[in-house]
Amino acid sequence: MSDGALTPAAIRALTEARLTFGARGRALETARTLDFALDHARAREAVLADVDIAALQAALDRAGLAHRAVTSAAGDRQTFVQRPDLGRQLPEADAATLAGTGPVDVALVLGDGLSATAVALNGVAFVAALADRLAAQGLSLGPVVLARQARVALGDKIALAMGAGTVVMALGERPGLSAADSLGVYITHAPRPDTPDSARNCLSNIREAGTPVPEAARQAERLILAMRRAGQSGVALSRLIAAGALPGSG
């Protein structure tokens, strides 16, 4: 299937790869080298920046959503990046601040993960859109929990502290060079302290140029309804959905 002469624009539509369109046989041009350095700096900034909790709280206030804030046992960014085990633990004092918030059907957690940029750009919008949908289904939610230095499994500990039946953990994904604003969402039914990853359902690449927030909220709602009907999440739920065993959950 020869296409004859393709324009560089047509080639760029095929792939975002950093191809060489100009001269070959020489070092990368100055402008491209500096473009690369800028993209890397953006990614590093997204990883290392602390989330602006005050700004997130203000945005949740505007959305009419109550909120709490906790910090994992990792404490700071450097520890968080190098110690995933600590990022999964909720200190007792933080767990205590969640006392009396439950029991609820679904706990909504917004964590920083590996990209403060993703949380700042897409986090509150996703949580608000999903909260609307779940409330319309008659599900109880409790306050949105903002979680600093958070890995996915921190959501299980938060859900246990709140007495939640299902937990949604939305957090920043590890930035790529081209996109530092991807939000990932992990949904777990009946979370335990030792939930295996295979018991989670995941939505990834939530960002303007990927899966847009409203579509992600719609998919998350369907998954939550399906797992609450099935009483399980993760690989087992995906199998049921693939087998058509859960009408209306596709």
Binding site: M1, S2, A5, T15, E16, T20, A27, Q82, R174, L177
Partner: protein, 458 residues
């Protein structure tokens, strides 16, 4: 058996060989995460001094509580006492001196490979500085062959890695062409598929095979899907050159990858039976990386570098064409920064070569590591000095499917020119025929090159 040493009145005791190896390991985040690292520089040096006095034969008597493990069994079965004889009486420290002795040449080291166990090699690497790792690896020549000859002294090959986030045929092809026009791909043109379905695996092989045949390139291709997918593809008659698999240093870690030695045996047999490589050619490709076993909770309390070296026992069973450590891919919880990645890359290359493997390195890092392209420059230069078999290259150093940074096609060009490292001779002749890399030759633009390819229908 415990090990002890006294430094200025302080006694350091290490309860067993496995603990001693872990405490002697140069600092890295993964060993701290596993809770096996030395508690500081003094304990580390004490362990290194203690390790230097350990006889190599101790490693044959102690399987380090990784009993009943298929990789341990393989390591013991591979050990060749006759090949071990020249170094049998040495301690780890004396072994380092012997390796660095100018009288110990590459031929001697090549004959030693199956006399050594991975743990012996890991042990000596822990008391070697970067220049030692470079100096000894540079003596060793491990040559493998398919359509091109990899690993000849003074040469450096590249994997051309044209990954695409949706495995689009033309997206893959145009990235591969970008590299070929810069002379990248004499080790392999290899795609990590975004999906692991059989139809996609077969289509990717067909796309890469079409490029190779139509451009008459003396190289081989590989779709780096799971070995079970490769088996099914070979069964279906797909054009499979190299069979790929990620492997690790314990049976449990390999189970995490969904492989057993039996499954790898089956795949090796099937790939050889295709007859695409020359008789006695090499048809397997493996990737490894420090931290893989720990991330699968399958490290048996062993430090990550020793565990990594055990993976090379698995690899060498299959006389592979290519092996590379994906050194910085796993992330900062295992290798925190540029310094740790550079050190680990040199260790893995040295250990692989000493065990007889055609060792390459994916010189790479992720965006949550404290590393950047400059660290990759330094590792590339060091590895080229050490005689690395091949490195991985992608367009503009940015892998848009796996979301990490490796080397650019330009980086391979830099090292060829700066240190004088041509590619495999067959591929070099192909480049010469087409004027690739020659000054004043007008190469086709990417658009024209892609337009001329006839790719299989999607």
């Amino acid at each position: 058996m415990s090990y002890r040493t006294d430094i200025q009145g302080t006694r350091y005791v290490f309860p067993d060989l496995k603990t001693l190896l872990a405490r002697a390991s140069p600092a890295r985040s993964g060993d701290a995460l596993a809770g096996v690292a030395a508690d500081g520089p003094l304990e580390r040096i004490a362990a290194q001094r203690c390790l230097a006095d350990v006889p190599l034969t101790d490693f044959l008597d102690d399987v380090m509580q990784v009993e009943g493990d298929a990789v341990t069994g393989l390591i013991l079965a591979q050990h060749d006492p006759a090949a071990f004889a020249p170094v049998r009486s040495l301690t780890v420290g004396a072994f380092r001196d012997w390796l660095l002795d100018p009288a110990t040449d590459g031929g001697t080291l090549g004959r030693l490979a199956f006399g050594l166990t991975p743990e012996m090699v890991a042990a000596v690497s822990k008391i070697m500085r970067a220049q030692d790792l470079i100096a000894v690896a540079a003596k060793i020549e491990v040559v493998t062959r398919f359509r091109s000859t990899i690993g000849l002294r003074g040469r450096l090959s590249t994997r051309n890695q044209p990954n695409h986030p949706t495995d689009d045929s033309r997206g893959i092809a145009v990235a591969a062409l970008d590299g070929l026009l810069m002379g990248a791909g004499d080790a392999v043109i290899g795609v990590n598929p975004a999906t692991d379905t059989l139809p996609d695996y077969i289509r990717i092989c067909e796309v890469l095979d079409a490029i190779r045949i139509q451009l008459d390139i003396p190289t081989q291709h590989c779709c780096l899907g799971h070995v079970t997918t490769a088996l099914a593809a070979m069964e279906a008659g797909a054009p499979v050159d190299l069979v790929f698999q990620s492997v690790a240093g314990s049976e449990k870690a390999n189970a995490g990858f969904g492989v057993t030695l039996g499954l790898l045996d089956e795949a090796w047999e099937a790939a050889r039976a295709l007859g695409r490589a020359p008789a006695d050619g090499n048809v397997m490709y493996f990737e490894t990386g420090q931290g893989a076993a720990l991330s699968a909770d399958a490290h048996h309390g062993m430090d990550q570098q020793t565990m990594e070296t055990r993976a090379y026992a698995v690899a060498r069973r299959y006389r592979p064409l290519l092996v590379n450590t994906v050194v910085g891919f796993i992330g900062p919880e295992y290798l925190a920064d540029g310094k740790q990645i550079i050190r680990a890359g040199l260790e893995d290359h040295f250990c692989g070569k000493l065990l007889g493997l055609p060792m390459g390195v994916d010189v790479c890092y992720t965006n949550h590591s404290w590393a950047d392209q400059e660290d990759m420059d330094l590792l590339l230069v060091s590895l080229a000095a050490a005689g690395v078999s091949f490195v991985i290259t992608v367009p503009g150093a940015d892998d848009i499917m796996l979301n990490y940074q490796s080397l650019a096609f330009h980086d391979a060009q830099f090292i060829r020119e700066t240190l004088g490292r041509p590619p495999a001779p067959e591929f070099e002749a192909w480049m010469d025929r087409h004027g690739i890399g020659a000054p004043g030759v007008n190469l086709p633009a990417l658009a024209a090159a892609l337009g001329q390819l006839r790719l299989p229908a999607a």
